[in-house]
């Protein structure tokens, strides 16, 4: 008999989650079995796994936006960010773990875009999990050879006089683009500015947007 997920609790006493209703797949079976074996063997615990899920859930583009907004407001911080983005992020109190981060500054002459052609390396400890398109064959193949065409598909056309720099995240570094502060945003507070800074602008496929 199907469970009614709106008023029924699981055997453990927790409410069912939306995806609990999905037909069990081979790989989901493996995930459950692997996780249970690891707990049984005291390699990890359910609490540790849940804490890691929560830690990853807490990471989102809002974290990166806060870092960029501070760089827009505080020129000394921006210098530190460009010199050592890991240290600057930690200075703001963000736990980025062991991640090695490099900040890339967009200027009037230069636009930066980040890709991982070999897999899907992404500054996840700052921005959260990457979007599906970043991990796709099309983005990984095309961003290094036709970045301007890729950008136009994202709605961004750059003048010929600007130099595009494509950064292929091939090894231990992770990258965040520091977009140029848009004209209409000057004079706003750091908190107000953070709302302008989108995930896509920190990957380099878009520009900051005035909040709706």
């Amino acid at each position: 008999m199907p469970h009614d997920h709106h008023d029924h609790l699981s055997p453990s006493g927790h409410p069912y989650r939306a995806d609990d209703d999905t037909p069990l797949s081979y790989w989901q079976t493996m995930e459950i079995a692997v996780r249970e074996l690891l707990v049984e063997k005291d390699i990890t615990t359910a609490e540790e796994i849940n804490a890691q899920i929560d830690a990853m859930d807490a990471r989102s583009p809002a974290i990166g936006a806060a870092v960029v907004a501070r760089a827009w407001c505080d020129p000394e911080f921006k210098i530190r960010l460009l010199a050592d983005a890991s240290a600057a992020s930690r200075e703001m109190g963000f736990d980025i773990g062991p991640m090695h981060l490099i900040a890339l500054e967009n200027t009037a002459n230069t636009h930066n875009i980040v890709v991982c052609t070999l897999c899907s390396c992404y500054p996840r400890n700052l921005l959260g999990l990457p979007p599906d398109w970043y991990k796709s064959r099309a983005y990984r193949s095309r961003a290094v050879v036709e970045p301007r065409k890729v950008l136009s598909e994202f709605g961004l056309t750059l003048p010929d006089e600007m130099q595009v720099r494509v950064h292929d995240s091939t090894a231990d570094m992770r990258y965040i683009v520091v977009p140029a502060q848009p004209e209409g945003s000057f004079g706003q507070t750091e908190e107000e500015l953070a709302a302008w800074i989108t995930r896509d602008s920190m990957i380099g496929v878009g520009l900051p947007q005035a909040p709706q």
């Binding site: 090695h100 052609t117 070999l118 290094v144 050879v145 036709e146 970045p147 301007r148 065409k149 010929d160 130099q163 595009v164 720099r165 494509v166 950064h167 292929d168 995240s169 091939t170 090894a171 231990d172 570094m173």
Partner: protein
């Protein structure tokens, strides 16, 4: 032809380098589209353990990791959208050959 980048002689920023054209199987992090291409050292990052060994759970030596900057025109020839655009990638020292520096821009 260049000489391989030596572990104990970090390459200076601006050094003209070429990525080696080796084609091994296995887990390597020098993308094929950059092999054989000439660029310059953008910075020496730090020594890191060789991922080609770590991938198999084997003991791994540290190699200096560099960021290498390439002109799009030098990588893609006439297929480059804008030959003066740049591609920058992290390459481990053992994939790098130091060029005769008369090639430096």
């Amino acid at each position: 032809m260049g000489t391989p980048a030596l572990a104990n002689e970090p390459l200076a920023v601006g050094t003209s380098v070429r990525i080696r054209t080796l084609m091994p199987p296995g887990h390597v992090r020098a993308p094929v589209y950059l092999r054989g291409k000439t660029g310059t050292i953008e910075r020496a990052i730090a020594p890191f353990k060789n991922p080609e060994q770590l991938a198999y759970g084997l003991p791994a030596k540290e190699h200096m990791l560099y960021r290498v900057r390439f002109r799009a025109g030098d990588v893609w020839d006439k297929n480059a959208e804008n030959p003066d655009d740049m591609i920058e990638a992290e390459i481990y020292a053992h994939w790098i050959e130091k060029m005769d520096q008369s090639h430096a821009a």
